[in-house]
């Protein structure tokens, strides 16, 4: 003989409050006492979980169905349609109960320790699309699944030092070069608010603009001359 755990649930087709009292549940529980029953119910539906022994799961299910519906009627419970039927061996039910209902969680400070990084680096990593989203993200309580952090750590390519500067495309490079020239020209001498900016060397055609290095050389020459006067 094998022990089976059978769960049957009904639902009130007319709706109703789940936590409004349903008369007859106490009597229902008494009638099912020999089946180690657990029952729940309200005006939205009622349910029972019972244990039966049988050599065959189909027979166990038939018996449980007959017992539960028979005693429900005897206890005066409404005859609502069944919406959920589930059968497990007792061993399988025990395995499910042994499974934690919450995953193993880690907090920000724990991740800092796990990855050997600073808190600031953790904040940066959260912008990384490969970094896991937290399962809980409330003010003062941000938690990640430990397994997700472990997976990230295993796949994370860590490179020491500052990240390399991305190579700019031609349009971005031209814009950068022009910006360098503007900055360089603004450093040529004391200026007051409202003074025109000297755009000497700035070519509206970006492709022919002086390079950032040229502007830097110009600034360098200016600063050398300035320091020579001292």
């Amino acid at each position: 003989m094998t022990g089976y755990t059978v769960h049957l649930a009904t639902r009130n087709p007319a709706g109703g409050e789940a936590q409004a009292e349903l008369p007859g549940l106490d009597n229902f529980l008494d009638l099912l006492a020999e089946y180690s029953a657990a029952v729940a119910g309200g005006q939205a539906g009622w349910a029972a979980t019972i244990s039966v022994d049988s050599d065959d799961p189909r027979d166990a299910l038939d018996r449980a169905h007959s017992v539960v519906l028979g005693y429900a009627e005897k206890a005066g419970l409404p005859h609502w349609p069944l919406v959920h039927v589930e059968i497990l061996t007792d061993d399988e039910a025990d395995r499910e109960l042994a499974t934690p209902t919450l995953p193993d969680l880690v907090s920000g400070p724990e991740i800092v320790d796990l990855l050997g990084i600073s808190r600031q680096r953790l904040h940066q990593l959260r912008d990384n699309p490969r970094f896991p989203e937290p399962l809980i993200d409330r003010p003062g309580a941000t938690m990640w699944a430990r397994a997700a952090i472990d997976n990230f750590a295993a796949a994370w390519e860590r490179r020491p030092g500052r990240p390399r500067r991305r190579k700019l495309d031609p349009a971005e490079q031209a814009f950068e070069d022009q910006a360098d020239v503007v900055v360089a020209s603004s450093l040529r001498g004391p200026r007051r608010l409202g003074d025109p900016v000297d755009l000497t060397g700035v070519d509206p055609d970006a492709s022919t603009a002086p390079t950032g290095q040229a502007a830097a050389d110009e600034v360098q020459g200016k600063s050398s001359r300035t320091s020579g006067k001292r």
Binding site: G3, A18, L29, V39, A40, G41, A47, A93
Partner: protein, 76 residues
């Protein structure tokens, strides 16, 4: 909403689960009137769980009770 505290009206192992649910998970417990004690899940869409005062088979009955609590959203 106000909640009762479970006492000797239910077995000790049930009591420990109920205390955890009402203290840490927002559930309510009621032992008023003539009927069996009732456990109200924090999720108002979940039905009231009835607890027998004298469960016949403590081992299997308790497991079925815990399974019912889990179905109603309890972390047990």
């Amino acid at each position: 909403m106000d909640t009762d505290r479970p006492g000797r009206e239910i077995p000790k192992e049930y009591r420990e689960v109920v205390i955890d649910l009402i203290d840490d998970q927002g559930w309510r417990y009621s032992n008023r009137g003539k009927g069996y004690p009732k456990l109200y899940p924090a999720d108002k869409n979940m039905a009231i769980i009835t607890i027998a005062r004298t469960p016949s088979d403590s081992a299997r009955g308790f497991k079925n009770f815990v399974g019912t609590v889990r179905r109603a959203g309890g972390k047990v």
